[in-house]
Amino acid sequence: MSTPEPAVETMGLGKRYRRTWGLQDCSFALPQGRVAALVGPNGAGKSTLLRMLAGISTPSTGTINVLGLSPRTQSFEALSRMAYLDQDRPLYKDFRVEEILRFGRELNPRWDGARARRHLEELRIPLESRIGKLSGGQQAQVALTMCLAKRPELLLLDEPVAALDPLARENLMQILLESVEDDGTTVLLSSHAVADLATICDYVIILSSSRVQFAGELDHVLGVHRLLVGPMGTESAAPAGATIISAVTAGRQSTMLVRSEQPIIDPAWEVLEPTLEEIVLAYLRADASSANVRSESSRRMRRAKRNDISVVQ
């Protein structure tokens, strides 16, 4: 179902905030029709990446191609074929739900109002409610409905499940899957809830330390990572061809997650297949252990980023 042209392609993408990089040297190609998870710790550059893809943030370096278009120079074409959910879910709080739908209809030539109404009806969100009076979760649903009603070919979602209860999460995942099946929508979503993602994603992009650590098919991610368990003291001696992502020592036992293109046959280790969550955690842990060194610079970066957002947006 995928065509040769990727839905999203970035080359050497970088975003510089005053003194530090929010995202650096980011290159990946997301094939069409995938549901991709963008995972990484806070401040890894997930929102920065999604904003640049949506065209509301300008890259400092590199190029972006979304659906074969540049979000900057071909903004109208790109915007009408993709939808973006900001992590703050900005909505006009004094609007009624039906008014925000009318707003969407007026600003989008391709607008599926019936779909939006049906979706909101299923969620039991009354159309005449003021948006500011809705709960955080309901507001998130309204914002997501606005995205889906565009019938986008590419859906960029920044932390879509953050404000949702487990039931709503499942509901959201269901809706996304329907959209992917019906329209062949490509989804790129960032999340902390790795466990939820594993059920619907077929592509993973791991960001940490402002860089892409891994981008590939879920099967490939699961295939090349292995969990090695052995006696304490052996963690420095990884099997040949394997890169250690992170190592943890608990009691007299040492566990490490490695990445290796070849199968690992080493009697010193017990080799296990990790879950996606374990892989992501290992990358996050690796990031945290190197964070001590970078704590000053990363704090500055976060501050710069926060300032930038509050001043600019």
């Binding site: 949506a54 300008t58 900001d86 009318r102 600003l107 600019v312």
Partner: protein, 310 residues
């Protein structure tokens, strides 16, 4: 998209309309009572100054949140990711905001036109009422086209400042003194140079009724034959030559004697003034200048918004 732009700005538009509506009631009520009783009451000088500030306050209130309101709430990230370029979205916002500003300013100028007319009664002119000479700054600034020009300028100023500062309250707060400076600059300096003034000369220090019913710009004693100060001198310079001062320094000087002294000393009094007939020319030019400044600010806003990224 007009509806969407209107809906986003609705609360500010309604607030501005409400202010004008309340003011209308007060102006009509006090105008009727004062006109009927021929006495100046209810209004202090301070209150009247508020009327001069009103175009700035209304224009800034409508302009400041146009961009800054969205960016401070983050809704620009919603609006600019719909299927519309930000230039187009801005154009619709400016169209709606600008039209509403023009409507509100038009209502304001009609109201003030009527009110200044109603209180332009000779009996009141010494106690605070207007003289009835519309070209004098007191009435000029509250009537005609300039009220619309000032309001639209303030709207553009608020929009541009909001685009830079991105906080509507701050844009308003910074805009108010800037508006006041622009208005004072126009009134105290610019307006003196816009339309060539009329000149009246006299051998005695008494102006004709044409001058009294006008806006007097300058008045001084000059050498005969001159209608403006000699090079290097300003209008504050008086040609108090000795023979004229000695000649006029006597008690019970008649007008004829006074004039004779001026002839002997080769001096005369010069009055430079804007007659009432220049009212619309002056209104037109000053309005055009304020609109031009406003358009310039809008141009900067468009450039800034096009480049605007997080």
């Amino acid at each position: 998209m007009t509806w969407a732009a209107w809906r986003v700005q609705r609360s500010m538009i309604l607030a501005a309309t409400a202010v004008v509506a309340v003011l209308a009631l007060w102006l009509v009520a006090t105008g009727l009572v004062m006109g009927h009783s021929q006495t100046w009451k209810y209004w202090t000088d301070g209150d009247v100054y508020l009327l001069y500030a009103l175009p700035g306050v209304l224009g800034l209130a409508l302009g400041s949140p146009l961009i800054a309101g969205e960016s401070s709430l983050g809704t620009d990230r919603l609006a600019t990711t719909q299927s519309v370029t930000r230039t187009r979205w801005l154009a619709f916002k400016l169209l709606v905001g600008g039209s509403v500003t023009i409507g509100i300013a038009a209502a304001l100028t009609l109201l003030l036109e009527w009110w200044t007319g109603a209180v332009s009664v000779p009996a009141m002119s010494n106690s605070g009422g207007f003289s009835g000479v519309r070209i004098q700054p007191a009435a000029f600034d509250l009537t005609g086209l300039v009220v619309v020009g000032y309001t639209l300028f303030a709207f553009c100023l608020g929009t541009a400042l909001g685009t830079v500062i991105r906080k509507p309250g701050w844009a308003f707060a910074v805009g108010l003194p800037l508006f006041a400076a622009a208005r004072l600059g126009a009134q105290e300096w610019l307006r003196l140079h816009l339309v060539a003034p009329a000149i009246f000369t006299s051998l005695v220090e008494r102006a004709s009724s044409a001058v009294t019913n006008s806006w007097l710009l300058h008045f001084t004693l000059l050498p005969a034959g001159r209608t403006s100060p000699p090079p290097g001198k300003t209008w504050g310079w008086w040609d108090w030559n000795k023979s004229y001062t000695t000649c006029t320094n006597q008690p019970n000087l008649t007008n004829a004697e006074d004039a004779h002294c001026a002839v002997l000393a080769h001096v005369h009094f010069v009055f430079q003034y804007q007659p009432e007939s220049h009212y619309w020319a002056l209104q037109g030019v000053e309005t055009a200048i304020f609109l031009g400044l406003g358009l310039l600010l809008l141009g900067l806003t468009v450039i800034k918004v096009k480049r605007w990224r997080i």
